[in-house]
Amino acid sequence: MKKRGFADLFFLLLVVYLVLPVVATMLYAFATNWNKTILPEGLTLTWLAALFQDAEFIQAFGRSVLLSSGAVMIALLVIVPAIFVIVLYFPKYEKWIQMAVVMVYSFPGIILAVGLIRVYSKFGVPMILVVLGAYVIGILPYIYQGTRNSLQNVNARQLIDAAQLLGASKLQAFTKILLPTVYPGLFAGALLSFSVLFGEFVLINLVVGSRFETVQIYLMKKLSTSGHIASAVVFIYIVLMGLLTYAIATLTKRSKGATNL
């Protein structure tokens, strides 16, 4: 009984530790004034309204969406077919992808940023394209894992064999059978990648900076001018991530159901 009490207490402390800053930040986005009281003196939509009336924020939001979704689209178009071919037909080469995945995790953002600037600045390549390329590689682990798990769950090689023996070409087997079957897993990987890139700050700030202001850079700027506006940005960010997480969870569940053969 005593043990149970301690466990509950620790759990409560953990929840408070994790949730309190988030709740406080979100409350601050709606607070009229919150300086001398425990709870906000009043609630208002002023900060959110101000944020949505700020063209700079709308543009920053658009840039973040464009950059993140662009990187995810490129990854889906380039990396996914490569993973399909390697996992299904050349599994011995999978170790090279796994090595690339580990390298993505092992490079700290600051070193990656310095490296990219030093290598690409002399070639005159727009640095935003360099960041885009780095993002495509950066989400390799999520795209690879999502695709590979989906393929293995459905015994993809056998599905392709079965389709071919029924008269389908490899391309037809891929588009009519494999893609619709693994799409929930792929889409979940894509959403996860999008959410990771949407929150990325280090690389974009160091390599491009305010020349391509994303939501994270906008947030950084607002931190020094208005805490309420900064909290409103965080609120929107958290809502967006919440929606993405919900979508990922739903898709993952559906993906597992589809493989229950």
Partner: protein, 333 residues
Amino acid sequence: MSYIVIEGLHKKYGSTTVLSNINMKIEKGEFITLLGPSGCGKSTILRILAGLTDASAGKINIEGKDMNRVQPKDRQVGMVFQSYALFPNMTVKENVAFGLRMQKVNTAEVDQRVQEILEIVHLSEKAHAYPKELSGGQQQRVALARALIVRPKVLLLDEPLSALDAQIRKKLQADLRAIQQKLGITMILVTHDQEEAMAVSDRIFVMNNGMIAQSGTPTAIYTSPESEFIANFIGHYNVFTRQALEKMIGEALPKEYSKFAIRPEAIHLDQRQGDVCMTGEAKQSLMSGNVIRTTFEGECLFTMEQLHQRGHSFELGKQYVCYIAKEDVIALS
């Protein structure tokens, strides 16, 4: 010329030989079984026949046409996989219709043929269900219908029943044989289950270590095993060395053979049913369904099988004299 001819088929993975000099002739409408232990190469033969795996050497001919350079989609070979390989994004009806859609058959004919084949496999009421909503047995029948609807020249069955429980497996074995005979289609089944092979096949090719160890009708394979491997794999044969059996029965046996086999059900207690006799002490009696299997220890161990209904009750530890007809002592090469 036979309907399917396989000549000198070899398959190597690196330095490992998986198939060695496989030669088979199969007639139209035959139900053939490739029987053997795991890893003996039987599934590889199916995959090569289907064009899913390339042979290292050898020829495959179906209906007079060389198949070596023909793509899987153009071979008109159907296949049913052990894991069913149903398309999870499609309903039963869509799965079954897939092959016809690839052939661009018109919708009215597709609907009619799907309905017909689903009736044959008793799944008409499940036409709109998804694979995950079906039992293993139902999924396997969908896989069978999907493969049959395109009217393949030959249907390959890669251990299609091994994931099912015994009762459903027996029912599907009978269904499979009935459908094969009704449609007159050539089928090649891969299995490691000798009872299954015996139950459904016209002929059996028993494989071992990438080679065909023996082929023939189920009766011929069972009653006349040519080697110790077949005798052990195909039934519960008693296998003796010549010297041991000579000692047990007190008679000389042909010198050119080193091993002999006796079927357990060919051993009797009734003197009228045998010319040679051997003595042993009853050590263990096990009931396996309708059969009682009793082990005796004489010069060496041997087993007798008798039907449960009229079987003799043995007293363990007691000596018994058992009789065998001379023609039931089978010389192994």
